[in-house]
């Protein structure tokens, strides 16, 4: 276990944390997901040492760092507003952590060059932060934190304030950094980020940790109503987009067996699909509708929900559908029954890796 939080509590109006325990393994991409006001940033700041917890302990590589000073923790944090020093150039910003550790000048130069090549900011090293775009600032803040090789990289809403194109680029970059061995804890309110980046997810609400696990465990098997409604989409599956350059419908393949039709601007590659559970129709006979995706499968589970029924149907993949109580009775559904599941291509969302 690399990082372990044991029973962390903190009164910090209005964000009070209650009995937070979690563990992060080396190389994990750990996403802390929750609505704003849940206390996500507070957890990061406690891990970084910026704020002291009232109770509980933090272990890093089996060392108790609960009371260790912030500048000795070797934990890097990228703040939501980035906190790039406005009076220093990009280069001086990146050098800043190295100069705190009495490192030889030539090594500092080398490290700055390496990290700026990696993050593609070598052309702006002499610029002042006020002249940079949001995406550039984001990279500078990342470079400044990564240059001192932190044991854990903490990211506070790193994708929240940049446009969609930059988001994709930055996501790729974060994934690359993680694949190179960097352990990351990433805080966000956006479940799509969690789906796309995390190998582990923790859901936080009102200062309490509701569920922790792999992304699939948490999204497909939410343990509470809040988790189910907050994460929103139960039907998400890793898939491969079949190469196609036509403008019309495209196909993704899941588990090498199921093909699903959808619309996307992407031409090929891997990713995830999301299907809204409200967008799925269930019927006893093959429907003759405009929906392109129709599958026959067996009802595995019937779960009563708020004024509705949730069905888990195995069509090769496990699809979750929400239907009304009336429909449930009209269709005379029972576990083990064969039913048709259908949904429109426009209700399938493709998220590229």
């Amino acid at each position: 276990m690399m990082l372990e939080l044991k029973n962390i509590s903190k009164k910090y109006d209005p964000f009070n944390l209650e009995d937070i325990s979690l563990s992060v393994e080396k190389g994990d991409y750990f996403v802390l997901l929750g609505p704003s006001g849940a206390g996500k940033t507070l957890i990061l700041e406690i891990i970084a040492g910026i704020i002291q917890a009232d109770n509980g302990e933090i272990f890093l590589d089996n060392e108790n760092i609960t009371n260790k000073r912030i500048q000795k923790r070797k934990i890097g944090m990228v703040f939501q507003d980035l906190a790039v020093f406005p009076h220093l150039s990009v280069k001086e910003n990146i050098e800043y952590p190295l100069k705190n550790h009495r490192i030889n000048k030539s090594i500092i130069r080398e490290k700055v060059i390496n990290i700026s090549n990696k993050l593609d900011i070598n052309h702006i090293l002499n610029r002042k932060p006020t002249t940079l775009s949001g995406g550039e600032l984001q990279r500078v803040a990342l470079a400044r934190t990564l240059v001192s090789d932190p044991k854990i990289l903490l990211l506070d809403e790193p994708l929240s304030s940049i446009d969609i194109q930059l988001k994709n680029d930055l996501r790729k970059l974060l994934r690359r950094i993680n694949k190179a061995g960097q352990t990351i804890i990433h805080v966000t309110h956006d479940y799509e980020e969690a789906v796309l980046l995390a190998n582990k997810v923790a859901i936080l609400n009102e200062g309490k940790l509701l569920q922790t696990g792999t992304a699939i465990e948490v999204f497909q098997f939410p343990k509470s109503k809040f988790v189910a409604s907050f994460t929103g989409v139960r039907n998400f599956f890793p898939c491969i987009l079949k190469p196609s350059y036509s403008k019309g419908l495209k196909n993704v393949i899941i588990d090498n067996s199921i093909e699903i039709k959808l619309h996307t601007d992407q031409t090929q590659g891997t990713g995830f699909i999301l299907i809204g559970d409200n967008a799925i129709f269930v019927s006893n006979h093959k429907p003759e509708t405009s929906a392109c995706n129709n599958f026959l499968g067996e009802i595995l589970e019937i779960i009563p929900a708020n004024n509705s029924i949730e069905l888990i149907v195995n069509v090769g993949i496990k699809i979750s559908a929400l239907i009304s109580l009336e429909s449930y009775e009209n269709l005379s559904l029972f576990e083990g029954k064969q039913v048709w599941v259908s949904f429109k291509a426009t209700n399938v969302k493709f998220l590229p890796n």
Partner: protein, 262 residues
């Protein structure tokens, strides 16, 4: 729209009157002093000496007290502590009390009968009638300007930046010198200039602590008392010119420094 224009006109006229009120006496004094008198007076050793002494003592007061006042301003900007409001009130005290009264208080504080005076006289030093005494009097009346301005400067530095620096491995003292102070520098420098300027122009407190050696404001007063307006004017004009030159120079320097923020 029309009414707005009329209001602007009225306010501009009022503003012009205020400006005139400031400029007229100064310009009047300049015009009623002959250039010849100014040149002759500026050659006098007594005048030159007093101006140098004024600049030097004001500079000493500013530099020496800044060492403690700037960190104190940081503390005031960042920390909450009991009786903070009272402390802030105490800092403003020198601005509101009459400066002659301040002079009396300082004289009691540094005279040979006082504890500090006794220690100083052990080293053969008597603050009364000494440039150090003058500096202390100047500092007493001018230090609120530095503390208040520096405090505003530090308060405007986002705490996030200091936290980020700490998380990047900097010690608190390094954070102060590399992040907080450079980012608050505009206000700190402005405070230093104000303190220096206020110290230079101090008369009331200094005259009680040290009539001699004579700083420029006291020299002006003495010439006026002994010889009248005509003899006091050239010294006043020269001192004003020197003061203006010093402040223009300091402002220019501070402007260059300000560029670090952009």
């Amino acid at each position: 729209m029309k009414r707005n224009n009329a209001l602007n006109l009225l306010f501009s006229i009022l503003g012009g009157l205020v400006l005139l009120f400031i400029i007229a006496p100064l310009v009047g004094m300049f015009f009623s002093t002959s250039p010849n008198d100014i040149i002759e007076t500026s050659k006098e050793a007594e005048v030159q000496k007093s101006i140098w002494l004024t600049l030097l003592t004001a500079m000493m007061a500013t530099v020496f007290f800044a060492i403690a006042a700037i960190p104190f301003a940081y503390l005031l900007a960042r920390k909450k502590f009991p009786f903070k409001k009272l402390v802030m009130g105490i800092i403003d005290l020198p601005i509101v009390i009459p400066h002659s009264a301040a002079g009396i208080a300082i004289l009691g504080f540094i005279s040979r009968d006082s504890a500090i005076g006794k220690i100083a006289s052990e080293f053969g030093l008597n603050f009364v009638g000494h440039p150090v005494g003058i500096s202390i009097a100047m500092a007493f009346v001018s230090i609120p300007f530095l503390i208040n301005s520096a405090r505003d400067g530090f308060a405007s530095v986002p705490i996030k930046l200091e936290k980020a620096a700490l998380s990047l491995g900097a010690s608190p003292i390094k954070v102060f010198f590399t992040i907080s102070l450079p980012l608050a520098w505009r206000n700190v420098l402005s405070g230093l200039i104000l303190m220096f300027a206020r110290g230079m122009s101090e008369f009331g407190a200094v005259i009680i602590v040290a009539y001699h050696p004579m700083i420029a404001p006291i020299l002006i007063y003495e010439r006026f008392g002994a010889f009248g307006l005509k003899y006091a004017r050239p010294v006043a004009v020269i001192f004003i010119i020197v003061s203006l030159l010093v402040f223009v120079l300091l402002r220019l320097l501070s402007k260059e420094k300000n560029d670090v923020r952009t």
